[in-house]
Symmetry: C2
Subunit: 208 residues, 2 copies
DNA sequence: ACGCTATGTTGACGCTGTCAAGAGAAAGGC
DNA sequence: GCCTTTCTCTTGACAGCGTCAACATAGCGT
């Protein structure tokens, strides 16, 4: 039972994760080489293995670190938004879009079949925290009588929609003929969902 | 220049693709080995390379073959559905769900960063055909006065929603606490979208 | 002082994708 | 006829990869 005794004791672990995240900026996770990362940091090819045990667990930790960073950015974006629940939801969607655009391979790694949440506690924890953030932000947009089950379903659908548009857009899978940006599609879809929840028609207004 | 002179001349190419698809049933694309596939078919380790040039192009062809098969199944499902446009859209969503559940790794390969549509004509063609099927099925659900641009946007959002729910569900990313199956979420979301399309419209959206 | 645990190193193994060169058959012009 | 080209496929080699095993070195509690 020991935590970090001093801030720079186990820096290698963090440096490995940071180096991997840096490479993921322009390289898919599957062609990421542990040996190259180790060499880049000037350590032996076994150093990553010492700390993480296997490539899979290392990648899971990388994904966890990336997701944790995304969670922090999303929280900051929500805090900076207006006090309106709907505005905060839009801000969260913007943060999601920004994250997947800046780090598509981190997102792909965290949500793909390569690693499982059980592969590293960092990833498991990060996934829970991100989901809680999504859930709470969406729950704040619900009318007062909404049941928790209904809120969960709406959160799942909302997240899936933002996720789908963002991911298809990030990997260029949406046809170029569509006369809208991914941002427009996402915000329109959210407005539509919000309107459906409150079930009386009005013109949704949100800033940006 | 010749095409298939006889039905069993270039069978190796197809057999390679089929063997790869079979392995993708329970193995992620990234840990698929061309050498193993070749050995399984009793040919040399260079045989796949002869036909496809590189691992990337081979995987693109595999993804294309898988997508083409998915397109056929989706078409069949639509044909078997009732004559109602909404029923056909639901049937298409069911086919999509079934495909991603049966072949999650094929779907992941075709929509991920590993291969690009330009890597093999088969994939490019299959992507176009699937999109056309989606677009046409969704277009049939639009009120008569809908513009083509609006239809395109709605098709993109609808597809993204189905895609998001299906993919998150297929890879176990949706929390277990949600009191609904992926099928229920998908069909509820589609019903909501359909209702939104036919209901009195809110503000006309932005232009191009 | 001693051993334990954490942290890193070196060396080897089998597997992978890819390159290079060649074998054998079919196709087609002379 | 034959000769050349093309297509299909094989064999052999190479560097890079993840991983296993064994060893080195420090810090620390007892």
């Amino acid at each position: 039972m020991t935590a970090a005794v001093s801030p720079d004791v186990d820096r290698l672990q963090d440096r490995l994760l940071q180096a991997a995240l840096a490479r993921l900026a322009d390289t898919p996770a599957e062609q990421l080489s542990l040996r190259q990362i180790a060499q880049e940091l000037g350590v032996s090819h076994q150093a990553p293995y010492v700390h993480f045990g296997s490539r899979k667990r290392f990648l899971a930790a990388v994904a966890g670190a990336g997701m944790a960073q995304a969670t922090r950015q999303a929280r900051a974006a929500i805090s900076a938004a207006a006090d309106d629940p709907a505005a905060r939801l839009h801000a969260l969607a913007d943060a999601y879009l920004a994250f997947i655009r800046e780090h598509p391979h981190v997102h792909d790694l965290a949500n793909g079949p390569t690693v499982a949440k059980a592969d590293h506690p960092l990833l498991q924890q990060a996934a829970i925290e991100y989901w809680n953030l999504l859930h709470d932000t969406i729950a704040d947009c619900q009318p007062s009588r909404t049941t928790e089950g209904e809120t969960l379903r709406r959160a799942a659908v909302t997240w899936s929609t933002v996720y789908g548009i963002s991911r298809l857009s990030a990997f260029g899978q949406l046809p170029a003929s569509i006369p809208a940006t991914a941002d427009q599609l996402v915000h329109d879809a959210i407005d539509q969902l919000l309107a459906g929840w409150h079930h009386r028609k009005q013109e949704p207004s949100h800033g940006t």
